[in-house]
């Protein structure tokens, strides 16, 4: 089969576009929606840093399955939010007395964005950590 030189160039040009999917795509939740998700968890209380760890890859090759891990020893609950997804909520962990306060799972990220983990500690205080994750192929089916 002969592909004309023009067609081959156009095909190659198209293949070069977009490897990184930026966060300004239409699917990202608004700042208000993200803030509402945080406030629903904290009741508007102050959030400190420290006491919670979030492990994410620096670059996620496939936004459909991104491994993430949280660790907050002594926490009662931890929520994971994806600031650039259509809906920020990802997973809400509740820990009983026997739990070590950690958990890992695999999540979908629509594009490059910050993943945020917020813990409610045993004394009722809140702590958070955020990590930027670069996503090469978005995981929202779009």
């Amino acid at each position: 089969m002969n592909i004309s030189r023009r067609k081959a160039l156009a095909f190659g040009g198209a293949a070069l576009t977009v490897t990184l999917v930026p966060v300004s795509f239409a699917q990202a939740a608004s700042e208000e929606v993200m803030k509402a998700a945080v406030d629903a968890f904290t009741g508007g209380a102050a959030i400190a840093e420290g006491g919670i760890e979030l492990t994410t890859p620096e670059i996620a090759e496939n936004g459909n399955t991104v491994p993430v891990a949280i660790s907050a020893p002594g926490a009662k609950r931890v929520i994971l939010l994806a600031s650039g997804n259509p809906n920020p909520g990802v997973a809400d962990f509740t820990f009983g007395a026997l739990a070590a306060g950690n958990g890992s799972t695999r999540i979908r990220l629509a594009g490059t964005q910050d993943v945020v983990a917020i813990a409610e500690m045993a004394d009722g205080s809140f702590a958070q950590v955020a990590k930027a994750v670069k996503v090469t192929i978005g995981g929202c089916g779009g």
């Binding site: 809906n87 739990a99 695999r106 979908r108």
Partner: protein
């Protein structure tokens, strides 16, 4: 829902911290995807997972649409004595899947 896979150590020392791995086969239709006519495919996911030891809840997770297909959940826990670890997954449609493993503690 299909059969879940759970990895639990068969034995441990009293008070040891052990790692539990769980994997449930499920499409986790997020509700974001569109079919070829442009209509959104309705959400259908596992929205809840819990692990209970001898009847006491160890941990639970409320899952949203952003959890990947075939949800994998791993966590650590302290195991005080011999007992049964019971796991539960709940689908949006109300279907409940359960399985359990026994850990022998010396």
């Amino acid at each position: 829902m299909s059969k879940p896979r759970v990895k639990v150590p068969k034995s441990a020392g009293a008070g040891d911290t052990i790692t539990i791995k769980t994997l449930m086969k499920h499409k986790m239709e997020s509700g974001q995807r569109k079919d070829k006519d442009g209509n959104k495919i309705p959400r259908k996911i596992i929205n809840f997972f819990s692990a209970t030891f001898n009847g006491e809840e160890v941990m639970s997770v409320n899952l949203h649409g952003a959890v990947s297909t075939n949800p994998f959940i791993q966590f650590d826990m302290k195991v005080p004595a011999t007992g049964d670890l019971a796991f539960k997954w709940v689908d949006d449609d109300g279907t409940v899947t359960e399985t359990s493993k026994t850990i022998k503690v010396s």
